[in-house]
Amino acid sequence: MTYSTELIKGTLKTIILKLLSDNKKMYGYEITQNVKELTKDQIQITEGALYPTLHALEAEGLVTTEVEYIGKRVRKYYSLSPTGKAKAKEKVKELANFIDTMITLLEIKPKTA
């Protein structure tokens, strides 16, 4: 099952910030593949959602970029700025609290091993 765009859209910033906090630097394609692998294809980030979000994070000063030349083309690596590292922690905490609230609200019993 692949999750709907609406669900992913609200969490995309948090997903990207968390991935960048776990990996020193990543480029766009790497981010999409990483998410795909970690979620066993359940979350597939589209290019149309990924790049606007990365550029917004850059405009907010949460990520920085560096370029590497691959032949004639340029590969842009994204990494967290010091502000971005703090923001990543904050966003993950916020999302975790939100999930707890949703579990209570929707009366979903957590799976026990």
Partner: protein, 182 residues
């Protein structure tokens, strides 16, 4: 693994630019992304142009430029004011009549003695005309029932950019540029 030539890189770059991607850093992101997909999935000797067309089609719903529009929108979002419908009308009203009222107050503060403590019609008539007219329009809009106002529903939020707002201010301050009417 397929190897992309310089000529093919130029072809992709020209194509994404022609499709409306003008931001250089976004062009770099998309170019690299497309190149990786082609290199990893196209067999050696495969049809590059056909594969490229099929790949680029998966990047958008209607047009590729959607990605650039979304990028600009998200990157400038923090520079916008989010207003309710009523706040928007109030702000519009202040912007429209503010300069006229301001001019009147400035006149009252500086020149009433020289004019023999008279408030000349040249001052208050334009204020009435130019301030009350937009006020009437705004009052009509303000009290229009929602079913007759599909353009701005009562519960809608209005995203106001500073750039258009700043562009409006010079035109609304025209009266302050006039010489004193005496």
């Amino acid at each position: 693994m397929y190897y992309i030539s310089e000529q093919q890189i130029n072809f992709i770059l020209d194509d994404i630019s022609r499709r409306g991607i003008k931001i250089e850093s976004l062009q770099c992101d998309l170019l690299d992304h497309i190149c990786i997909i082609i290199e990893q999935n196209l067999e050696e000797g495969g049809d590059f142009e056909q594969f490229y067309e099929a790949t680029i089609r998966t990047f958008y719903k209607k047009e590729l430029r959607e990605i650039e529009e979304e990028t600009i929108f998200l990157a400038t979002l923090k520079n916008h004011l989010v207003l309710s419908r009523n706040q928007f009308f109030l702000l519009l009203f202040i912007v429209l009549i503010g300069p006229f009222i301001g001019y009147d107050l400035a006149w009252l503060a500086t020149s009433p003695k020289a004019a023999g403590w008279r408030f000349p019609w040249e001052i208050w008539v334009p204020t009435l005309i130019f301030a009350l007219y937009p006020l009437l329009v705004l009052l009509v809009l303000f009290f229009t029932p929602e079913k007759f106002d599909p353009l701005i529903p009562k519960k809608s939020m209005i995203l106001l950019g500073f750039s258009p707002f700043i562009k409006v201010i010079p035109s609304s301050s025209i009266p302050t540029l006039f010489p004193k009417w005496e």
